[in-house]
Symmetry: C2
Subunit: 224 residues, 2 copies
Amino acid sequence: MARKSGIKLTVVVVVMTISEGVLKTLLVRHDDNHWSLPGGIPHSDEPLTKAAERIVLESAGIDMEYLEQLFTFGDFIPDNGARVIEVAYHGLVPSALLRIDKLATRQTISWFAEDDQPPMIDNHQEVVSVAHQRLRGKLAYTAVGFELLPDKFTLADLQNLYEVILGKELDKRNFRKKINDLGILEPTGEERTSRKGRGRPASLYRFKSEVFHTIETKGDIFPF
Amino acid sequence: MARKSGIKLTVVVVVMTISEGVLKTLLVRHDDNHWSLPGGIPHSDEPLTKAAERIVLESAGIDMEYLEQLFTFGDFIPDNGARVIEVAYHGLVPSALLRIDKLATRQTISWFAEDDQPPMIDNHQEVVSVAHQRLRGKLAYTAVGFELLPDKFTLADLQNLYEVILGKELDKRNFRKKINDLGILEPTGEERTSRKGRGRPASLYRFKSEVFHTIETKGDIFPF
DNA sequence: CCAAAAGTGTTAAAACTACACCCATGA
DNA sequence: TCATGGGTGTAGTTTTAACACTTTTGG
């Protein structure tokens, strides 16, 4: 017998950051054996991006600065016939923000490195992997990577970010030269002594925000 | 009073082609004053891409060779509270296929050039413009443009395609050199005398299909 | 023989790649 | 003073961009 074909709408978000030199993804515990992406159901009058923001804020206390629609998975139709429409977003947060360890929630929410992912429910593993691919792709021709850094950062931070996401090493001098030529950074005048207190302190930079959106148009800005 | 929040799922497709030297989009007549994208509701057990294919086939008799998900618009909530989820796809068809004029359907379905678009219903104008942007973007780093040409084509055809989509003129010698270096074409041995019978006949080429997918990975293949 | 489109190389400028040493700091 | 990470320039190669004439065909 044909069932009434209801539809279930869900939003899931792949929140990514750079931490300890690797790209990590935010997952929440689902049961003893599985994790899942932060996700939920939009309120009845809520735009989807708002829902995505709210869901991440509610489940992880994280306020995302960058958020974009990733893909819509709409082919799953459970036995009851109610098709599931899963609109996936991906978001980036600066490494500085990931203060999850400080919450007592470590058991129920955590960051996972790309090569160390736990079993996930439904199609979440696939969603994560689409997000990673997309991020790699976008990095080359948009300024998206900047969203992963705090306000002030060193050139080494920036280079590490690109290396981590692209998965290859870059030449330090060539990297700095190109960034310099692009003219998108301004020195803050401040310095930061390196994390383990060892070595020469590095200058801190910030992005010139006016340049920020100008960039996006002219393809292939960061051809590393 | 809060209404029961049903959800309506629709699929719309932006079908694009190159014709008469410009990029055109397929629209169907909606009423005396408005046109719309081909669209419809997926069957209860039908995957979304299948639905997109079927809808275009049914409404225009066109069998698309290239089809990709474009974007999902999910923020429209009419007065009755039933949110509309509109999953948009974009597809490409070779110029040779657009035999619409031959059908007696010219009144109800037609191709429209980018700079000559009629009033459309709902958000369809926006969907079309997102599709055009995406196409422009993709052209630079994938082999997507090939889908717009018939099996056999001239180098002039190919160059025209790139010029039309990118919206700028390209140098003939540089263009041919790059295409040649890429090694993705093979001569058919045939020639075709130009459309108006005037001028020297051009050699016809086809794509080496084995190369086809190899390409997609290494960013920035067509940096014109 | 004229109009129209196809086809073909060279050169200068710019971008990219590879590469090695000195500097400032804390321990 | 040493270990650690920050910072800097050059030369060879590759890629890109600009540019004009000859060839083949149909009318």
